[in-house]
């Protein structure tokens, strides 16, 4: 009696199992790696209408973030500066530079500069800059090394895990209030000493400022 199925079909179940397992693990790995804000958001760097550089203004000129983002200590929202803020200096500096054409036009006519927004939490999340900045959380924790960026990019995922990781243990991130905008600041040049001091001082500041560890859903979804 001749065989109805050729001989290789004996291996078919094994092949299907191996193939299925490979495909499933590849898809799982892909989703795990790619379907997260760590991939989707981090690195987003849109082209801005004016080639404004934080590296020039903050790192080289030593300007404080609050010179431009001046409402960050009072408001939930950290404002993008008005063109008149730029013109305080640029009425003398690079007065006729073509790169600043839009800024001059905006200052003269009031037409806003169309900056592209980079960081933005979903509308069902309540976020507040003033709370964090006045409780010793530095800009660098959520925005990365802005002072080194020629063009701003999204450096941290700003996902719910990211927020909660810190809210569970704020002591590991707190720093003195006058060092909030000093993005390169550490307790000590030696990383071991810095980590130790952070633990000791962080605990102290938690008690002193009565910092709460906010993990209730209603803290951020209200």
């Amino acid at each position: 009696m001749s065989a109805i199925f050729p001989k290789w079909t004996n291996r078919l179940p094994v092949m299907i199992i191996i193939g299925g397992a490979l495909t499933a693990s590849a898809v799982t790995a892909g989703v795990w790696y790619y379907f997260t804000p760590k991939y989707a958001r981090v690195g987003y760097q849109p082209i801005q209408p004016v080639s404004f550089s934080h590296a020039t203004h903050v790192n080289q000129l030593g300007m404080d973030c609050r010179y431009c983002h001046d409402k960050v200590e009072q408001s939930w929202f950290s404002n993008i500066p008005a063109a008149s803020t730029c013109m305080n200096c640029h009425n003398q500096v690079l007065k006729d530079d073509p790169r600043l054409e839009l800024v001059r036009e905006s200052a003269a006519t009031g037409k806003p500069i169309p900056w592209v927004q980079i960081h933005r939490v979903p509308d069902f999340v309540y976020f507040n800059h003033a709370v964090h900045v006045n409780r010793g959380i530095s800009c660098v924790e959520c925005h990365g090394p802005i002072d080194k960026m020629e063009e701003v990019y999204h450096a941290k995922p700003l996902s719910m895990t990211f927020c909660l990781d810190c809210h569970r243990d704020p002591a590991s991130k707190l720093r003195p209030l006058d060092k909030i905008t000093d993005l390169n600041w550490t307790w000590s040049d030696d990383p071991n000493v810095a980590a130790q001091t952070q633990r000791a001082k962080g605990k102290e500041m938690m008690d002193h400022w009565r910092v709460e560890s906010l993990e209730n859903c209603s803290a951020c979804h209200r």
Binding site: L61, G62, Y67, T85, C89, Y153
Partner: protein, 214 residues
């Protein structure tokens, strides 16, 4: 099986090549795979909004209105921002003369606040010591910056300094939008302390401190 493995391998390599690694810089807007309720019809500050003629979601206040705020406490008296008082205008009420002295009580706290605000808003141009040798001047980007130890400026009344900070003067811009009213007086107080640091005489020191001088 061989073909399957080959296609599988090619697909994996393709996906990795196209999608790249986490954290790669990209000009593309982040994809939203499940939009859920992430974007809702609500006004957010500093965004475009076609509802208003100007196209801005953050409207400018109509002329003559003031923001709702707590009154300022000046020596136990509640002062509102619309009142014609030295704290608000830097001038004697009903005149255009500048007030001679800071209307806020000068405390260590006020000076500390002034020092911090001065560091943020004034050092880029006037320098930490107020000589007009800030970084913008040092790199030769800015030509004219006033030296705050100039005899003329030292002799100006406090109200005039307040007015300069609030509304600017000649080439200097207005800082009222960036610095709150109380903080502007704090900066004036700190500026006076800076100037005094250059004008002090040895006799002003207490005998103990004087003894430590060489």
């Amino acid at each position: 099986m061989r073909y399957f493995l080959l296609i599988f391998g090619v697909l994996v390599v393709l996906v990795v090549l196209i999608a790249g690694r986490r954290g790669d810089l990209t000009r593309n807007r982040p994809l939203q795979i499940f939009p859920d309720m992430k974007r809702q019809l609500k006004l957010r500050p500093q965004t475009a909004n076609s509802f208003f003629v100007s196209g801005l979601s953050s409207q400018l206040p109509p002329p003559g209105t003031i923001a709702r705020s707590e009154p300022l406490n000046v020596g136990g008296q509640a002062v509102y921002p619309f009142e014609d008082l030295p704290v608000n205008t830097g001038r004697n009420p009903g005149t255009t003369n500048f007030v001679e002295l800071n209307p806020l009580p000068v405390t260590a706290q006020l000076l500390e606040r002034g020092q911090q605000r001065y560091g943020i808003y004034c050092t880029p141009c006037h320098g930490a010591t107020g000589e007009g040798k800030g970084i913008t001047q040092k790199i030769g980007a800015m030509a004219v910056v006033a030296n705050l130890h100039d005899k003329r400026i030292v002799e100006l009344p406090d109200g005039d300094l307040f007015n300069t900070i609030s509304h600017g003067k000649n080439l200097m811009g207005a800082y009222a939008p960036q610095i709150a009213l109380e903080d502007r007086w704090a900066v004036v107080a700190y500026l006076r302390a800076l100037q005094l640091s250059r004008l002090g005489a040895v006799d002003d020191l207490s005998p103990e401190v004087r003894a430590t001088l060489k």
